[in-house]
Symmetry: C2
């Protein structure tokens, strides 16, 4: 994950039609701080870099080779790399196990074995490391990105090992929406040599990884996986998306990574026993990673499933309450004591029940601080889902309305109100930390709204729709239940 010089086989400038061109361009674009040596039989320069005819011509030591050439050249290149002593290889080239090319696949393994090569792939898209050892500052990005997509976010605490390259490249837009930042990712491809177990063991001890995500089509070394996963998930959560267990999923993975998928129930049992949090869609996969990424480093892991719904709008509150029941979580009443305390912050049309419908009221201090503090401090609940945080989208007028709110007086009032709301959010975060009490927000404007972005930047998990909010919190509660079974809580707890 920390090479200082990369040799790139299959380098060219044929954008957008050639994958090698796109991958090399991304590597350069993301500002890799080591050396990059494109290899091509004829070209003199590629993307402004001097090209070499073969690896033997390269001056100085190479410690990683990336291969994006047609498969007939692969055995020869691997042999060459082995002879010269370049042990780390990313093999992007496809056409082995996924099309039943067992001869090719075996030849590859033999060469790897002979020279002790660590090969990622074939049919993979490589790696991303947003925190290479070029810097000692964990917030400074010195990116190594061999995928086809540029990564433009800061380094984070989430790492992914994936049997699909897409889930570690096309997903960068999904990450950006969620303020979810990556640390390291591995696209595993067909796992001829390096497999999921190897990656998990690497991530187990990686000090920058606090949350692990795995996308699985098949687990090869089942017993080993079981032991490793069980060990890791007591220290770091593992979130999984598994798609091979249904008839359709099995058909798909056989033509993708050439895997023989197992029954869904078997995998489900495996996940439960090892404490892996299973998700069922790409959205839930990343939604869950976001709540884990934000709250686990703060030691916020619920110990039970008693939830409060707070809302300033009836429909979304009812939708969240409905979802809470469907997921098997609880929505208990407030004690008389809590009721009395809450009552004084409510308008006359609102009642101190759970769901707590705040009704139309835009007082951010009561909404973000006063009421949540009473609830968190009471110890009667394990978490809170909240609908409604209004920022600029609420005043998204076009003609007359825009004119009006841009007048000095209304603008000043709005500005004061927003400043008060933003300050409340910062203070509310103290409640989360002090009482280890999760507060998860939903708002139908999503990240179009500035207040919502502000909430997320202050480490509140935020989701566009009510049910996603509940589903994410549910997964965090499931992780808490697993830890509790072993009475293991994070150091910070």
């Amino acid at each position: 994950m920390n090479p200082h010089a990369v040799a790139f086989y299959g380098a060219n400038e044929n954008v957008p039609y050639n994958m090698g061109a796109l991958q090399l361009l991304t590597l350069i674009d993301n500002g890799f701080q080591g050396k990059i040596y494109p290899i091509h039989p004829n070209l003199e320069t590629i993307f402004g870099l001097k090209a070499y005819k073969s690896i033997k011509e390269i001056p100085g030591k190479v410690d990683l080779a990336e291969i994006v050439v047609s498969k007939k050249h692969v055995p020869q290149i691997l042999t060459e790399l082995g002879e010269i002593g370049v042990n780390n290889v990313i093999l992007v080239t496809a056409g082995f196990r996924e099309i039943n090319n067992n001869t090719g696949s075996n030849e590859l393994k033999e060469i790897a074995l002979k020279f002790g090569l660590h090969i990622l792939g074939p049919n993979c898209i490589g790696i991303l490391n947003t925190h290479t050892n070029y810097s000692n500052n964990p917030n400074e990005a010195c990116i190594l990105n061999t995928t086809v997509q540029s990564y433009s976010l800061p380094p984070g605490n989430v790492s992914i090992a994936s049997q699909s390259g897409t889930f570690v490249s096309h997903t960068f837009a999904i990450l950006k929406e969620r303020n979810l930042y990556l640390n390291k990712t591995f696209s595993l491809g067909n796992e001829a040599i390096i497999d999921l177990c190897d990656c998990l063991e690497y991530l187990e001890t990686d000090p920058f990884t606090e949350v692990i995500m795995i996308y699985i089509e098949e687990i090869k070394r089942g017993r080993l996986f079981f032991d490793i996963a069980k060990r890791i998930s007591r220290k770091k959560p593992i979130i999984a998306l598994y798609v091979g267990g249904t008839e359709g999923g099995a058909k798909a993975v056989s033509s993708h990574t050439g895997s023989m998928a197992g029954k869904d129930e078997i995998y489900d049992g495996l996940f439960k026993q090892t404490g892996i949090i299973r998700t069922y869609s790409v959205e839930e996969f990343f939604d869950t990673a976001m709540i884990f990424s934000h709250l686990i480093p703060l030691g916020v892991i619920p110990k039970g499933k008693k939830i409060v719904v707070m809302t300033n709008s009836g429909g979304p509150g009812a939708t969240m309450a409905d979802r809470i029941s469907r997921k098997g979580l609880e929505l208990p009443l407030f004690s008389e004591e809590v009721k009395k305390k809450i009552q004084k912050y409510l308008v006359p049309t609102a009642q101190p029940s759970n769901p707590l419908d705040f009704t139309f009221s835009l007082n951010p201090v009561d909404f973000f601080i006063k009421i949540p503090r009473i609830i968190a401090r009471s110890g009667e609940f394990d978490g809170m889902v909240i609908y409604g945080a209004y920022g600029d989208q609420f005043f998204n007028y076009t003609s007359f309305g825009k004119e009006f709110i841009e007048k000095p007086k209304p603008q000043e009032i709005l500005l004061q109100w927003r400043e008060m709301a933003e300050a409340s959010v910062v203070d509310a975060q103290k409640i989360v930390k002090k009482y280890k009490f999760p507060m998860v927000f939903a708002n139908l404007w999503g990240y179009n709204d500035s207040m919502f972005r502000h909430l997320n930047e202050n480490l509140f998990p935020t989701y566009q729709t009510p049910h996603r909010c509940v589903d994410a919190l549910f997964n965090l509660i499931k992780y808490g239940e697993y830890l509790q079974k072993f009475q293991i809580y994070s150091d910070k707890d």
Copy 2:
């Protein structure tokens, strides 16, 4: 829905703290073409409009009154309106049934009965009509919007009747993301007089409404609802979100609209028998509306559940295939004939199986037209879900990459490729129309990507994540199954 003069009780300029102020501002902002008369005891002008002390002072006829004042004034105002002959009333004021104020609620009903008032509410947020009768052109917006949120989209073919005001106001951002355009919406509140059945009957004959959405916490006139819904859903689809059926949902709706919710299974049976398409989250609710809104006017309603997955990326393809199995849809193999025809458009690393993994290949003509046409024409399948349509987000570079692709030569190649892709999309729409064959797209960049927006503007349903794509198509298939039971298909079919 088509007033020519609106009297507004509770008008003021106290933005953002007063709901009346926000609603009046929205009404003006959206450019309502009739007259607006603010009513206030003291103020001379409000938002630049002349204010009146009472409705009696207003010159000329008023045909709609909107009331956003504290509840103690409501009976008097209603009586006044009744005496003067203003029959249509939007009653925003809350504090009746949802807080068990039965006396107040009954008083309100008596006044309405006495004068024959049509009251929407109380505790509602009013209506939106993007197609008032100020224009005969269905594409020209002459908006009447009494809600708290400005509507800035064109008039569409979807109408909503909702027991939550939020789902017809805060959702405008969700609509925008989906290129989903509204025609009329009703926020029903507590339904003291006008209820869901009345709205459904109105929408049944509204020529501009092609898809109906309902958000339900309780159905009051059950038998009538059953008959109306059954009759309408054979002509126009009805999509429902019902949240009262669980324990949490029931608690929530009681404090929201004061409803007594029924058992989930009873509602489920009701929906099945009447052909209503039930959804389980706000997201699915609007996702389903989008596919219906785009495809039903084209007569594209599947007759079976045999689906093809096409992808240029293994992981998302496998995720879609997995979801297809979980939803009980089928993923049959291609016939030998189809296989042979498809084969010639595939690269050597791809195989003609279903899921059809196109692998890395950016040839838009094969992807959007050649292969889909073979599949649609074969008659072997009822629909297709497709992952991957690449536009500008694929080339979202920051430093060196940006510099490179902005050079004249790469820029020209990219431009040609994009133009070819965009033209292919327009041609692909002909396949959808000719063979009544749904093609539904997923792409993890979502609407951040220009190609995805282009697809959606050309009436292809488009979703950010693979499972949402399958779920939406599943709901369209369910509607087709219902129609088939009665052998009823749309006129255009």
